[in-house]
C-alpha cells in the first residue's frame, strides 16, 4: 500500500494526465459514428503495441524492427486457446503475454549474448518476425496460410470478450488495457529497473561500472516489452475476429507498431499514445482529402495512393524537423522559451 502511495506521489503528473486522458477518451463512444469508433479501437490497440515496443526500444535503447513477432504470438495464443480448447480469452491474453515474454527472452538471450546492437539487432528482429510468419504459414495446426476465424456468439459474452454492441464495449476494453499498461510503464520508469534500462541505453560500460548487468536488464526489457505488445495482439484477435500469419506477423505490423512511439517521442510515457493519435488523424485527414477534396484541389479526387504519398511526405518532414518526436519538439520549444 505504501508503495502504491509513493508511486502516486512521485509520478502524480503522469497519473493525473492518465486519468484525464482516459476520461476524455472514454466519453468518445457517446458522440461518434460506429465506423470512427472502430477506427478508434484499432488506434488504441496499436498504441498499446507501441507502449510495449517503447519499453525495449525507447527505454532500454534496443531498436526492434520485428515487434510483429510478439504481436502475432499474442494473437495466435488467444485464437488457438479459444478455438481449439475453448479457453477464455481472459486467460488467453495473459498466456499470450507469457508466450511472447518467454520468446523474447530466448531471442534476447541469443542476440544480446552475441553482442548484436543497433542496425544489426534491428535486422535480426526483423528476420525473427519473418521466420515466425513463414513458419506459421506452413503449420496446419495454426491454420497455415488460411488463418483462424473466431466464431461469433449471440449476445454479450464476457467470458469470451465478445459483445453484441461490439464497438463501444470493445473500445472501452481496449482503453482499459492501454490504461493498465501505461500505469505499469509509469511504475517502471520510476523504479530501479527503469533507471537501469535508461543507463544501459545511454552507455553500457558506465552502467556495468555502477553494478548493472546489461544483459539481465535488456532481457527484462525485452520480456516486458513482448508481454505488453502481445496483449495488443491478443486483443486484436478478439476485435478483428480473424487472423492469419500475414495480418499479424507481417512486416507492416512491425512498422505500424514502431511508427507510433517514434512519431510521438521515443522513450517517453506518452509518445506511443500521442503518436497513435496524430497518425490516425493524419491518416483520416489525407483519406478524406482524397475522397472529397476542396475545389482548388479537385484533381486529387479518387487518386488511389495519394493519401499514402502525403503520409510518406509528412513522415519525412517530421523526421527531419522533429527528430525526437512531437513531444520532444514541444519540449525543445518550451525550453527555448524559458531561456
Amino acid at each position: 500500500m505504501t508503495k502504491i502511495m509513493t508511486l502516486v506521489q512521485a509520478s502524480s503528473r503522469d497519473l493525473y494526465i492518465l486519468v484525464g486522458v482516459v476520461f476524455v477518451l472514454a466519453l468518445l463512444p457517446l458522440g461518434v459514428s460506429p465506423f470512427l469508433l472502430s477506427v478508434g479501437t484499432s488506434v488504441l490497440i496499436f498504441a498499446l503495441a507501441g507502449v510495449g515496443w517503447n519499453v525495449l526500444s525507447g527505454f532500454a535503447g534496443q531498436f526492434s524492427f520485428g515487434h510483429a513477432a510478439y504481436f502475432g504470438l499474442g494473437s495466435y495464443t488467444v485464437a488457438i486457446l479459444l478455438t481449439k480448447y475453448s479457453i477464455s480469452p481472459w486467460i488467453g491474453l495473459i498466456a499470450g503475454g507469457f508466450v511472447a515474454a518467454i520468446f523474447g527472452l530466448l531471442v534476447g538471450w541469443v542476440s544480446f549474448r552475441f553482442g548484436l546492437k543497433g542496425a544489426y539487432f534491428a535486422l535480426a528482429t526483423f528476420a525473427v518476425a519473418e521466420m515466425l510468419r513463414l513458419t506459421f504459414n506452413s503449420i496446419d495446426y495454426f491454420g497455415a496460410g488460411i488463418g483462424i476465424t473466431i466464431p461469433l456468439v449471440d449476445g454479450d459474452d464476457w467470458a469470451r470478450i465478445q459483445f453484441s454492441d461490439t464497438r463501444a464495449l470493445h473500445y472501452w476494453f481496449a482503453l482499459g488495457l492501454l490504461a493498465v499498461s501505461i500505469v505499469a510503464v509509469i511504475a517502471i520508469k520510476r523504479s530501479r529497473i527503469g533507471s537501469y534500462m535508461f543507463a544501459v541505453r545511454e552507455d553500457e560500460d558506465a552502467a556495468s561500472a555502477l553494478g548493472i548487468d546489461p544483459l539481465r536488464t535488456k532481457l527484462i526489457a525485452i520480456s516486458i516489452s513482448g508481454f505488453i505488445t502481445a496483449l495488443a495482439g491478443g486483443y486484436f484477435t478478439l476485435f478483428f475476429l480473424f487472423i492469419d500469419p500475414d495480418v499479424v506477423f507481417g512486416p507492416l505490423v512491425s512498422v505500424a507498431i514502431l511508427l507510433r512511439p517514434i512519431v510521438g517521442g521515443v522513450g517517453t510515457i506518452w509518445g506511443p499514445v500521442v503518436g497513435a493519435a496524430i497518425l490516425s488523424l493524419l491518416g483520416e485527414l489525407t483519406r478524406t482529402l482524397v475522397r472529397e477534396p476542396p475545389a482548388f484541389l479537385s484533381f486529387l479526387e479518387g487518386a488511389n495512393g495519394l493519401d499514402q504519398v502525403l503520409f510518406g511526405f509528412i513522415l519525412i518532414v517530421m523526421i527531419i524537423r522533429a527528430p525526437d518526436g512531437v513531444l520532444g519538439w514541444f519540449r525543445r520549444k518550451r525550453e527555448k522559451g524559458t531561456e
Binding site: 508503495k3 509513493t6 508511486l7 512521485a10 520510476r190 523504479s191 530501479r192 533507471s195 537501469y196 535508461f198 543507463a199 541505453r201 545511454e202 552507455d203 560500460d205 558506465a206 552502467a207 556495468s208 561500472a209 555502477l210 553494478g211 548493472i212 548487468d213 546489461p214 522513450g267
Partner: protein
Amino acid sequence: MTTILDVQGVSKSFGGLKAVFEVSIDLEDGEILGIIGPNGAGKTTLFNMISGAIPADSGSITFDTTRIEHMKPHDIAGLGLVRTFQVVKPFAGLTIHENVLVGAFLRRQDPNEADEQAHKMMELTGLTPYAERSAQDVTLAIRKRLELARALATDPKVLLLDEVLAGLTPTEGVEMIDVVRSIRDSGVSVLIIEHVMAAIMALSDRIAVIHHGELLAIGVPASIVKDPRVVEAYLGEEFQIAPD
C-alpha cells in the same frame, strides 16, 4: 589496519606488448593510495583489470575475502568496488539527478530512498544546483564530479578514481581534492591514478610508482621521493614536488 584490496602479481599483454607485468599492490582499509607513472606506464590497464573491464593474463586480485579476477564488472561493482572513467561517461540523455539515481539504486529498491541518497551525494559533490540539467549540457568539471557522485551513490567500500583532476582548472582541482578527502573520511578506501603530482603527494597516504608496466616502488610519499630507483627512472624527467 586490514587489507581491503590485494593485487598479487597481475600481468597483461596486448599482442607482444607487456602493458602490466607482475604488479602487486595492496590497499589498506581507509587509506588513499595514489598510483603515479608516465603516460603509457600501464596505470589504466591495471585499473581495467581490477574493475573487471579486461581479464588479467595471470595473477590474483582479492577484494575483502573474494577473488575477483575472473568476475564481470557489474558483479565487482556489486561487491562494493566501484570505478570512475578517465574519459568521463555520463548518461548523456539523462539529467544529473537521474544519472546519480542510477548509482543510488544499486543498494536500494525503493525509489524514495534512492532519491534521498542521490540528493545526499549531489550535495556532497556540489551538484545540487545542476540537478535538473541534462548531463550533456554541463562543463567538464561538472561531469567529472558527476562521475564521482554516481560512483559514490552506490555506497562503495573502495573507489577507483582514474584521473579525476585532469582537465580541471586549479580552483576546480582544489575543490575536487576536498571532495576526495571527505570521501575517505566517510570511510571509503580510495585508489587513485593521478597526473597532477602536487595534488597526489598531498592527498595520498601511500604512493605506488609504475614504470613500463612494472611496479617500481610503493611507500609513503616522503620515502618515494627519496627512492633512488624512482628518482633515476622517472622523477628526474618530469616530476615536480611543488606546483609552478
